[in-house]
Symmetry: C2
Subunit: 272 residues, 2 copies
């Protein structure tokens, strides 16, 4: 698809300004999974509002989000408040609500990724996984699965066969998922789409044979660089499953081999 | 010291209720480092206020904090707001300000760690480090250092010799620090003190030979279990130093070998 067309993601995350610190948006049913709108998509919507509040700081550097209740398709009210506006970064609070009930409360420090110094001292290494054409396409999922998770049709998502055993009833038990992701309409990644990618893969608990929905309590995302065009590779892992909760880490690497985003979430364990 | 004495930590983090959602506290000069009050200590103060708001949910499960400006010793005003109160967990926003200027904005989900299910499926492993008596006592630091960082006199803190090379001008360059921590007055750890411990060690950048102050932009902490009495061991690491910022992860393990708290912060790189 030509890049001049408005991307599916831009369209679905568009916000309408209602006042200095208030917006509305229409949550799109195409980004649902297990009956609720996906949390990563909601981060994209929040990011659009924050970008509009202050065009000098268009990029989320860090955003921390508390999920207070499930989000439904349709109208959402968004309010922002200024915590601190500096020369190169600015921090805001942002709340999403539907029918008067809060669904998301978040805080973010925004900045301009294109203006950061270009030092890179990363000791982290990118996920080792086969090229996309040798991975398992999530688009090959059953029609029933797609109906329950229309979200997966927004992406071209490929899972490393070594961590995709859950799809054929053979989870590895290691608590790791790896794969590739890009938008199905060919749009290249930008900082806001990284927020969405961080929470779009199947839950890492699938690799432990636990398939029910795992509601996110809180997710913090760092976006560290503008992503190069092309595929994003991802590594999800969990190390501490205890007390009815688990943490899930996600790293996103761009096609130039740069660690562009990191997240950690605390979620409730699936009941199954 | 007998446990019946009020601990230094309890005293220094005490809050005075001023209204349903407002408190004051006196920030104690003994918890300063590099001219400002330590961010981990401030989390303890915030935790005390949140615990007072709702005694049914005394423990922080997850708290995400944005540091908006340095905190000074003396009076701090604290306001909280309810985001969602449920049966077993409750989420709040909390703001600290001094002389009318916001210094900290945070959100937390509180719960009751003693009532969580007792499943533990951790694949993480505790830090491998010598016993405390074979580690480097931070109390052996120079008088000048102690004067600049009275904070370190609140703890009995011992660093793994393998990661304490920075103290003698030989940082390992790996971006890892390990050590032991407990309160110097003998008080055993509780969930609020874990918040403080998470941000009390020397910055992990010291192990990379970069010794200037590294201001935290945002820190998210998960507290996952009530800590057993005794020493807490800690592992701090950074993997992604880029664009003038770095992330620092900290894990705290209790004397029973349980991973009791995890944090990740995004900080600005020291200028030095």
């Amino acid at each position: 698809m030509s890049q001049s067309t408005v991307s599916e993601f831009s369209q679905a995350t568009a916000v309408t300004r209602q006042g200095d610190h208030s917006f509305t948006a229409e949550l799109d049913a195409g980004w649902k999974v297990a009956g609720a709108v996906n949390g990563g998509y909601l981060l994209g919507v929040a990011g659009q509002a924050l970008r509009t509040v202050n065009p000098n700081t268009p990029d989320p550097l860090v955003i921390s989000t508390f999920y207070l209740g499930p989000s439904r398709e349709g109208l959402v009210d968004i309010t922002t408040r200024t915590l601190r506006e500096g020369r190169s970064t600015a921090s805001y609070g942002i709340e999403l609500s539907q029918n008067g009930a809060p669904t998301i409360s978040a805080m973010a420090t925004m900045g301009n990724l294109g203006e950061l110094p270009d030092d890179v001292g990363t000791t982290a290494t990118p996920p080792q996984l086969p090229p996309p054409e040798e991975c398992v396409g999530v688009a090959e999922a059953s029609e029933d699965f797609k109906k329950a998770a229309p979200l997966i049709e927004r992406f071209d998502m490929r899972l490393d066969p070594a961590t995709a055993g859950f799809a054929v009833g053979k989870p590895s038990g290691r608590g790791v998922l790896q794969g590739w992701i890009r938008f199905v309409d060919g749009t290249d990644p930008d900082p806001l789409s990284l927020l969405t990618f961080l929470d779009s893969f199947p839950p890492v608990m699938f690799d432990l044979g636990r398939f029910n929905w795992a509601p996110t309590m809180e997710l913090t995302a760092h976006v560290r660089a503008l992503p190069a065009p092309g595929w994003i590779s991802a590594r999800l892992s969990t190390r501490n499953i205890a007390g009815g909760m688990f943490e899930e880490d996600c790293e996103l690497w761009d096609s130039a081999g740069r660690l562009v985003a990191q997240s950690r979430q605390l979620a409730r364990q699936p009941r199954g």
